[in-house]
C-alpha cells in the first residue's frame, strides 16, 4: 500500500514554520549581517563620533598602508606557521590515540583514560593559561623542577620565542586530542566485527588487521576532518595565545587575531584593523567554502 504523502505547503499552512524561524532570523540579521555592513570601515578613515556615514572615504588606502607595514608579513607568517603545526598534529594525535585506545580491552581502564583525556576540552583557555603559566614558569614551575631533577637545563617555555611556539602546539594538542578522538572511536566501534573474523581466518596478525581493517574503517572520517581542517589555516588559536603570550615572545607569536584586537580596540585604529580583519575573513571564506566543497565531493558531507 502506498502511504499517503503530504503535499508541499502553501503559505497559508506554512506561516507557522516561518513564524518559528522569525526570532532567530532577527538575531542573525542583527548580530551577523549588520556587522558585515560595518566592513565599510575598512575603506574609511573611521571616526566613531561621525559614524559610518560621516567618516571620510579612503578607498583602498588602508589596504595599501597595511601592505607596507612590516608587521603584516610577520603576523601572517606567525599565523600560518602556528596554525599549520596545530592542524597537522591536531589531526594525527586523535587518530593515533583512538587506534591505541581501541586495543585496550580492559573496560574500566579504557573508561578511566577517556574520562581524563576528554576533560581538558571543557576547561577554558583562561584557566588553562593560568595553570600553564604556573607550571611552566622558569623559576620554580613544576615542569622545570622536574627537568632539573633529571639533570636537564630549565627551559623558558613561555619566554623564549622558539620554545613558545612549541609550547603553543603541544599544549593545544594535549588539550584537544582526546575530544577529537571521540568521532574516531565512534567510527571504530562501527566497524563490522565479521571483517576481523575474516581477517583472522586469513591469518592476519593484529598489526595486519589494523592495517587492512581498522584503518580503512576510519579513513572516511579522517579524510573528512582533514579536508575540513584546511579552512582553519588562518586560525592559530586566539584564546590560547591571548592567554599565554607576553612581550618577550611577541615577535614569534603575534597572530592576525591578536593584532587586530590590539590595533583596533587598544589603539583605536579602526579602519586599519578592520581592513586586516576583512582580508582574513575573505581568505578564510574562500578556504572554508573550498574545503566544504571538497568534503561534499570526496566524503559526501552535507552541512544541513
Amino acid at each position: 500500500m502506498i502511504k499517503p504523502k503530504l503535499k508541499p505547503l502553501k503559505w497559508k499552512q506554512s506561516w507557522q514554520l516561518h513564524a518559528m524561524l522569525l526570532p532567530g532570523m532577527i538575531f542573525v540579521v542583527l548580530f551577523a549581517y549588520l556587522p558585515m555592513v560595518g566592513i565599510t570601515i575598512a575603506f574609511q578613515d573611521f571616526n566613531p563620533t561621525k559614524g559610518f556615514f560621516g567618516s571620510k572615504w579612503l578607498g583602498l588606502d588602508n589596504f595599501k598602508y597595511m601592505l607596507e607595514l612590516p608587521d603584516t608579513y610577520r603576523i601572517v607568517k606567525n599565523t600560518v606557521i602556528i596554525a599549520a603545526l596545530k592542524i597537522f598534529f591536531g589531526f594525527l594525535a586523535p587518530i593515533v590515540f583512538a587506534l591505541l585506545l581501541n586495543e585496550v580491552k580492559n573496560k574500566l581502564w579504557k573508561r578511566g583514560i577517556q574520562t581524563f583525556v576528554y576533560f581538558p576540552h571543557f576547561v577554558s583557555w583562561v584557566i588553562m593559561g593560568g595553570i600553564l603559566v604556573n607550571i611552566l614558569s622558569r623559576n620554580g614551575g613544576a615542569v622545570n623542577q622536574l627537568l632539573v631533577a633529571i639533570g636537564i637545563e630549565p627551559v623558558f617555555f613561555l619566554g623564549d620565542p622558539g620554545w613558545f611556539r612549541v609550547t603553543l602546539v603541544v599544549t593545544d594538542v594535549l588539550k584537544e586530542f582526546g575530544f577529537g578522538a571521540i568521532i574516531y572511536l565512534a567510527a571504530l566501534s562501527g566497524i563490522n566485527p565479521a571483517l576481523y573474523e575474516a581477517a583472522v581466518i586469513d591469518g592476519a596478525s593484529r598489526f595486519k588487521q589494523t592495517l587492512h581493517v581498522t584503518l580503512p574503517g576510519i579513513m572516511h572520517v579522517a579524510v573528512l576532518l582533514g579536508i575540513l581542517s584546511i579552512g582553519n589555516i588562518l586560525n592559530a588559536g586566539f584564546d590560547q595565545i591571548f592567554n599565554l603570550y607576553n612581550y618577550l615572545v611577541l615577535d614569534s607569536s603575534e597572530i592576525i587575531d591578536t593584532w587586530v584586537y590590539s590595533m583596533g580596540l587598544l589603539q583605536a585604529q579602526y579602519g586599519l584593523a578592520t581592513a586586516v580583519g576583512l582580508l582574513k575573513s575573505v581568505v578564510a571564506f574562500a578556504l572554508i567554502a573550498g574545503s566544504y566543497k571538497l568534503a561534499v565531493k570526496f566524503a559526501n558531507y552535507r552541512i544541513f
Binding site: S14, F116, N134, F238
Partner: protein, 293 residues
C-alpha cells in the same frame, strides 16, 4: 611461533597501556597540581615544595578567594547562564524544527539554510561587531553577553539531525488530524528530544560559564565582569611577573599564587560537577551532529 607472537603482543600491550596511562595523567596532573597549590600554605608554595599533594595544608587561600570582585563576577556569570541558556535553547528549538522539514514540504527552507550557513563562513569581524554593540547601546549590559550568541548554528544542526531520525509518521498523523505545527512541535517533538536537549543544555551552560572574551571586549565596568573575564584580567596581571627575566618573584606574589590557584579551582568546580553528565551524553551528541547529515 606461537610463543614469539604472544611475547610481541605482551610487549605491545605493556607499551600501549603505559603510553596511554601516561598521556591520560599528563592531561589531568596539571589540574591536580593547581588543586594542591591552592590547599597549601604560602610558605610551601613559595619554597616550591608543592607537587601533587598539599604541603602544610591550609584553607586560607579559599577563605581569601571569596572577595567582593570574585562574588560579584560569580553572580554575573550565574545570571548570564540562566538568561543565556534559556534564550539559546528557545531559539535553537524554534529554528531546528522548521528546518528539519524536507525542502519539498517547506518552501524557502533552503533560503533560510543558506542565510545560516553564510554566517558560519563569513563574519563582519571584531571591530564592526564592537561598533555595532556600541551603537545599539549594549556595552556594559547583560544583553551583550547573551544576545549575539543567541543563534548557534551548530546547535541547530545537532538538533535538526536528531529530529530527522525520528519517524515522520507520528507527526504526519497528528497534522492530518488538524494539529498545528506549534502543537506538533510542543507535544510530539519536545518530549521525544530529552537526550539531545540534555546535551545542548550542558553545552550551553559550559559555553556561557567559560566565555571570557566578550566580557573583555564589551564590558569595562568592573562590577559587571563575568567570572572568566575577571579571572583573565587577574591572571594576566600576575603573568607579567612570572615572565620577567628576574628571579625575584616577590614573596607576596607567591602568597597570591595559592589564592589564584584556589580561584581557578573554584571556577572549575561546576565543570567538574557537570562532567559526569556531560560525558554520558556528548559522545552521542557529537557523533549525530558531526558525521551524520
Amino acid at each position: 611461533m606461537r610463543s614469539t607472537r604472544s611475547a610481541g603482543a605482551t610487549a605491545f600491550r605493556l607499551f600501549n597501556y603505559g603510553t596511554l596511562t601516561l598521556v591520560a595523567l599528563l592531561c589531568i596532573l596539571p589540574l591536580v597540581h593547581i588543586f594542591a597549590v591552592s590547599l597549601s600554605s604560602a610558605e610551601a608554595v613559595n619554597g616550591n615544595q608543592v607537587g601533587l599533594w598539599p604541603v602544610d595544608f591550609s584553607l586560607g587561600a579559599y577563605r581569601a578567594s571569596f572577595d567582593a570582585p570574585f562574588l560579584s563576577a560569580l553572580s554575573v556569570t550565574m545570571q548570564r547562564i540562566v538568561l543565556g541558556t534559556a534564550i539559546n535553547m528557545l531559539v535553537t528549538f524554534l529554528m531546528a524544527y522548521p528546518l528539519s522539514k524536507e525542502s519539498d514540504r517547506f518552501p524557502y527552507r533552503n533560503v533560510y539554510v543558506w542565510i545560516l550557513v553564510f554566517t558560519m563562513l563569513f563574519s563582519g569581524g571584531l571591530i564592526p561587531t564592537y561598533i555595532l554593540a556600541k551603537q545599539l547601546h549594549l556595552l556594559n549590559t547583560m544583553w551583550v553577553l547573551v544576545l549575539p550568541s543567541a543563534v548557534n548554528v551548530f546547535y541547530i544542526i545537532l538538533l535538526l539531525n536528531f529530529f530527522r531520525q525520528l519517524p515522520k509518521e507520528i507527526e504526519e498523523s497528528a497534522l492530518m488530524d488538524g494539529a498545528s505545527y506549534f502543537k506538533s512541535m510542543y507535544k510530539i517533538y519536545l518530549p521525544l528530544s530529552k537526550p539531545v536537549i540534555a546535551t545542548l543544555l550542558l553545552f550551553c551552560i559550559v559555553t556561557h560559564w567559560n566565555a571570557w572574551f566578550d566580557g573583555i571586549m564589551f564590558i569595562n565596568d568592573t562590577d559587571k565582569y563575568p567570572l572568566q573575564t575577571y579571572l583573565q584580567l587577574l591572571l594576566q596581571k600576575s603573568k607579567s611577573v612570572l615572565s620577567l627575566e628576574d628571579a625575584k618573584m616577590a614573596a607576596e606574589d607567591a602568597a597570591k599564587t595559592s589564592i589564584y590557584g584556589a580561584k581557578m579551582f573554584l571556577s572549575l568546580l561546576p565543570i567538574i560537577a557537570l562532567y559526569p553528565f556531560l560525558q554520558k551524553y556528548f559522545t552521542e551528541g557529537i557523533v549525530i551532529g558531526a558525521v551524520k547529515g
